[in-house]
Subunit: 279 residues, 2 copies
């Protein structure tokens, strides 16, 4: 692992690190914010998964999460959204290929050799983080935006016991019924739709839910409401009596201005879960 | 004037606007954050001047200022750092030409026709803002980063009564004695160094100071300390008994991670001055 950058930030360190990834078959880059408390021992960690077209950098520079994380003594991980490199397949569309990994393990050509973002986020990166940094991997939480909200919700529900809490900003909530989902799942996972269900937050919420609190923020003026389908997830959460809240935020859109506005709430929400047995 | 974007943000609106600039002889773009209070009447305004290579967008997306401005009911203006367009002169170096206006009115070829950022920030843009938006121009404050810190300090000291308070993050503090200054002033203003003095914050501080509070934050691990020359400004402030504070921040560098860390302090500092006769 190679450290590319380290910047002091809210009393802690914002780092950027690069490493050889087996899951993705190439070099991967991630951001890691460590609060000052990490110098004294392992700290809880909040995963922040980004959306379409993003790299590790977008949320790290624009979501304004570090200040709140520093206040709570929580680390933040900012992974990339897809494999990278010249030998990695891509598509002209912004919503397929690089920058659009959709947090699945691709089984189809030409994607299968590198597009294994599920294994990367669920297995490889956590193992690396645990080995290299002062992180308390018994205290993890996860959030994300748009495609990253989809990733956060599907990972949290599919890995019971892994995350204490999950939140999302404007998640792609029902991808098996959306053009943000059907196209990508067909490409990455093949035509058999039964293999898509494990990657649909609404279907997972209907089927099993999440064993902890859930917080969803959705802008009412989001330009992508038709593709995100928040109403399906809201209905599934209510039907399951899922612990948590689905909030429709009047006037907000899909941008990082929306995310930064509500980031304090999300970090506080996760801190409560992460420190539930310690306070 | 044309509105390019509007995003709801911390209960207010983050807008981006484009207009024909006489001073710069072409189209100019700026960001304007209006807090919710602006719907009820004019609000105070804090100018945020950006550094080398920046456009109107950098501080608007990475400085994390809107949340604190919303809390204080203050508007934020994010101007561009130079004229733009195909007919505008440029240089291969990142620190001359586009993205490097240095907040002066150029008198020399090939810069003179467009590089009039002093007039743009001191005259044209304030007049446009007053005409078009609910801003209380009797309550203005100014801050900036690096080259923008230079701009904030020189404008504030040269326009007595205009700004209630001035602050800067890692300003170019003594450009007449730095390669960030000498090269640009020679290009924009010509070889006669007597014409440079009006654009040197340290010289202005020695000569007249600022009639209000000054706050300077400087990272101790800033990679550009040799070019910024903060010690000259600190000495000048202390010698003049200037109301204010010069803070050396251990471990911090020149990045937006440094800026966002201390933005809450700066917005609070300006709010105190902006509301001094109202609270």
């Amino acid at each position: 692992m190679e450290t590319i950058a380290e910047n002091r930030c809210f009393g802690g360190e914002q780092g950027v690190h690069r490493h050889r990834s087996e899951a993705c078959g190439g070099d991967m880059t991630f951001g890691l914010f460590l609060p000052d408390e990490a110098r004294d021992g392992p700290v809880p960690v909040l995963w922040v998964l980004a959306g379409l077209t993003c790299t590790h950098e977008n949320a790290m520079t624009k979501a304004a999460a570090q200040g709140w994380a520093a206040e709570q003594g929580i680390a933040l991980v900012f992974p990339d959204t897809s494999p990278r490199g010249e030998d990695v397949a891509d598509d002209e569309a912004f919503d397929l290929g690089k920058g659009a990994g959709f947090y699945v393990n691709a089984t189809e050509a030409p994607w299968a050799p590198h597009f294994r973002m599920w294994d990367y986020i669920a297995k490889e990166l956590p193992a690396l983080l645990e080995a290299e940094f002062p992180l308390d991997m018994a205290r993890q939480a996860i959030t994300g935006h748009s495609m990253g909200g989809h990733g956060a919700l599907t990972l949290a529900m599919s890995l019971p016991g892994r995350f204490r809490s999950v939140s999302a900003f404007a998640p792609i909530a029902h991808p098996t019924q959306s053009d943000w989902g059907r196209k990508q799942f067909a490409a990455y996972l093949g035509a058999d739709e039964s293999r898509w269900a494990a990657h649909d937050a609404t279907l997972l919420m209907r089927d099993k839910g999440f064993d902890g609190p859930v917080l969803i923020d959705q802008g009412a003026d989001d330009q992508f409401l038709d593709l995100l389908k928040p109403e399906a997830l809201a209905e599934a959460m209510a039907t399951r009596r899922q612990d948590g809240a689905f909030r429709m935020q009047k006037g907000y859109d899909h941008s990082y201005f929306f995310i930064s506005t509500f980031m304090e709430d999300h970090v506080s929400f996760h801190a409560e879960a992460l420190y539930a047995d310690a306070r």
